[in-house]
Amino acid sequence: MTDPRKAVALISGGLDSLLAARLMLDQGIHVEGINFFTGFCVEGHTHAIRKQHRERPKRNNALWSAEQLGVKLHIIEVIEEYKQVVINPKHGYGAHLNPCLDCKGFMVGKAREWMEAHGFDFIVTGEVIGQRPNSQRRDTMPVVARESGAFDRLLRPLSARLLPPTLPEREGWVDREKLLDLNGRNRKPQMALAAHYGFHDYAQPAGGCCFLTDANYSRRLSDLWETRGTKQYEFDDIMLLKIGRHLRPRPHFKLIVGREEGENRFLAGYRRQFIHLSAVSHEGPLVLLDGEAADEDLELAARITARFGQGRAAERVTVEVTDRSGGARRLTVAPLPAEEIPEGWYL
């Protein structure tokens, strides 16, 4: 008996990749999953940070998918390499700062490298023609196959019968007739297939699993690039964009305001890198000040800090301001009334 052919399946944690991998298992293919952590993955970060979410059961959806399938899952951190995809996407952005086509090409390319390094035969994705406006179109699917270097070793089982036969099909490793011809954004066929396989409680993230598809997050990232005058970021930058309220009262500084205890604790881990403020006369948030601030700026920041704390209705609130070297001073200020915070300050 010959060893089964081996496929590495991109597992996002969503339904389509789960089904695509399952179809391969049905055909006797040895499947292992691969999942990439870019730093922009939605994967539960805000839930992990925010205390009010801690009582909810939390899971990594890619690991959950792999457990449903009974396959190994390799989680690969690609934070540094992924920067070029976000900063300079060859094919541009989608509706926000989501470089979906470049992203898919990058991930399939990394999967190809993994496939070659581990002696696997082909790559499987959950892509469906017409599912996404940019990366999953009939005309862009060959782009992903070509630019990733996977070429005809890239199989999309959910739409395979609408696409030219790939190597695994031509060689008879998989039976093309048992693959699917899904097309478009209608999710009913996938949901029916999930029910057939007994997959329940699968993740259905609105807008996908990437923060870059989120309008608010993209606005914060654009602001970061514009104010720094350079289109770069570090991992800590993109983590902080996920957390708290972000307000830019002046072009030369912004404030990150913790919304609850969990966020305050998370932000506290960064306090030595920033000027930071917190009320001492009342309960309130920890606020990081990103940028440079003169005395009048610090007073404004203190008034905003007071505005988001328990002393918001008080006449005066005492706020401690700590600089990056740890030197602290106290300012007693009037909380800034909500109506004096223009909507345009919020990022």
Binding site: R59, E67, I75
Partner: protein, 80 residues
Amino acid sequence: MSRHQLDARHLLCPMPVIRTQNRIQALLPGDELEVHCTDPGALHDIPAWCRLHGHEVVSASSTGDAVTVVVRVATNRDRA
């Protein structure tokens, strides 16, 4: 068999899982890895990853914000 420590505190999932996975690749079958985390998600995610790869979770516990998972590397692994 030897016991090893991994500090994954202040990392958010999936980073503790990734660090665990990468560290285990360098260990020998039967070795134990004690992983210290602060993300409560690690209490679920590291054992889930271990189940998929056949590694044994010796213990998994949390006290306050501290999560500790002890993993014994599979004796029959072909690859982590």
